[in-house]
Amino acid sequence: MLEVRDIHSYYGKSHILHGVSLDLKEGEMVCLIGRNGVGKSTTLKSIMGIVKPQQGSIRFHDQELVGLAPYEIARLGVGYVPEDRRIFRSLTVHENLLMGIKGGKKGSAGEGGWTVERVYELFPRLQERCNNKGSHLSGGEQQMLTVVRTLMGNPRLILVDEPTEGLAPLIVKDVLDMLATVRKSGVTVLMVEQNFKAAIKIADRFYIMSKGQIVFSGNQAELLAAEDVRKNYLEV
């Protein structure tokens, strides 16, 4: 459903992505791993249109995304969960959720889509705090909120950037469980994760990035087998 072909992206004058290509199939959960500063987040931002790739193509269900504004991409069914929990701090939890709903369509709830009610049902913790300001939530709650806010738009694909960053172990588990739930509901997931052990449990396929390029691609077994890849690009 998503084809990224040889994209080159820049931040100002610095060349961050040197020809990244990757593919996602419907319903997959794919994880993008690699060290800090290798271009993982930039890859997601390029797909979302926040960073404009200067070269290459990104096709989503045969629709070219390069050149579209983020809101247009979002309306095509791509959701984006940024890395630093960018909830709207002065909005309440409930309002944050409402923001996720696109174009005022109160929900394609009929076909099992995400609705506020369903979110509250699945994540009672959010319902408890539904009238709190976003800034009053804990890190884990903020992260959850960021993810479900994106789900409210019923995307077909979500891009998740380091969902477990800076969270306590217990909460990491909650967040990962939640992503598993999301994925079960039929949403395709492209995730950036540093927490290798966590990632390997839940994702189907992996891409490893280094210096702005994809250096490895494979499934769980292949990744576990590729000792040298892990040594070079991931571990101590």
Partner: protein, 247 residues
């Protein structure tokens, strides 16, 4: 032996979100101390607190026995602390020379003078050239920072950090985003330029850490997991777990 730098029980929270929960470690004079830890462990926050950008919620930082926590950065700099930034934080429109000059003249007390021209002071200019040479940017010293390659920008970042002749240097991921070759050069360069000074470094690249550090502290979920020599760290199971995750 008196502690040169003592980070004592530092807490920090951002509107309720606990980032540091009692960080405690000691650095001796002339030591090269690396702080490692997974992303989001609070390394950069810790750096920001030591260098005066943030105030700690509680705790103390004792530098040569004096509490310096909560002092503004410009005062800390005058005490002899200097830090680099993870993302190159130079004066982009200025030449390399003028970038370095900014720090050197600050060291020489030529900050707010209404009459003296800093670039006409021979001693200062020589000092600037020396630093530029040290970080290997002599060839590009008249080019604006924005036109440098990524590796050169990182070198400039270190050059600016050195320009105030600090005795305690804080480096925040000096080799982030560099190629292997660039990284190796950078390690060599950092090794040279920090000779005889105290160094605290945050780094992900273990190669860098093990080739530079004489002590390593592992920061994990806001506290120091362990603080020891590189050999011991390399074989510590807790550290391996922290890095590979435990989910």
């Amino acid at each position: 032996m008196r502690n040169y730098l003592h980070i004592h029980n530092i807490h920090k929270d951002f509107s309720g979100l606990q980032v540091l929960t009692g960080v405690e470690f000691k650095v001796q004079e002339k030591e090269r101390h690396a702080v490692i830890g997974p992303n989001g462990a609070g390394k950069t926050t810790l750096f920001n607190i030591i260098s005066g950008k943030f105030k700690p919620s509680s705790g103390a930082i004792l530098f040569k026995g004096k509490d310096i926590s909560g002092k503004p950065p410009h005062i800390l700099n005058r005490y002899g602390l200097s830090r680099s930034f993870q993302i190159t934080n130079a004066f982009q429109e200025l030449s390399v020379f003028n970038n370095i000059l900014a720090g050197v003249r600050s060291r020489y007390g030529l900050r707010y003078n209404f009459f003296k021209k800093p670039n006409q002071n021979r001693e200062i200019c020589e000092k600037v050239d020396a630093i530029i040479k040290e970080v290997g940017l002599t060839d590009v010293k008249d080019q604006p920072a924005s036109s440098l390659s990524y590796g050169q920008q990182r070198a400039l970042e270190i050059g600016i950090t050195l320009s105030t002749e600090p005795e305690l240097i804080l480096l925040d991921e000096p080799t982030a985003g560099m190629t292997r070759e660039e990284t190796n050069q950078a390690i060599k360069m950092i090794d040279q330029v920090t000779a005889g000074r105290t160094l605290i470094i945050i780094e992900h690249d273990m190669e860098v850490v093990f080739s530079l550090a004489s002590m390593i502290s592992v920061l994990h979920y806001g506290t120091i997991l362990v603080s020891d020599t590189p050999e011991k760290i390399r074989n510590d199971q807790r550290v391996k777990d922290a890095y590979l995750g435990e989910g």
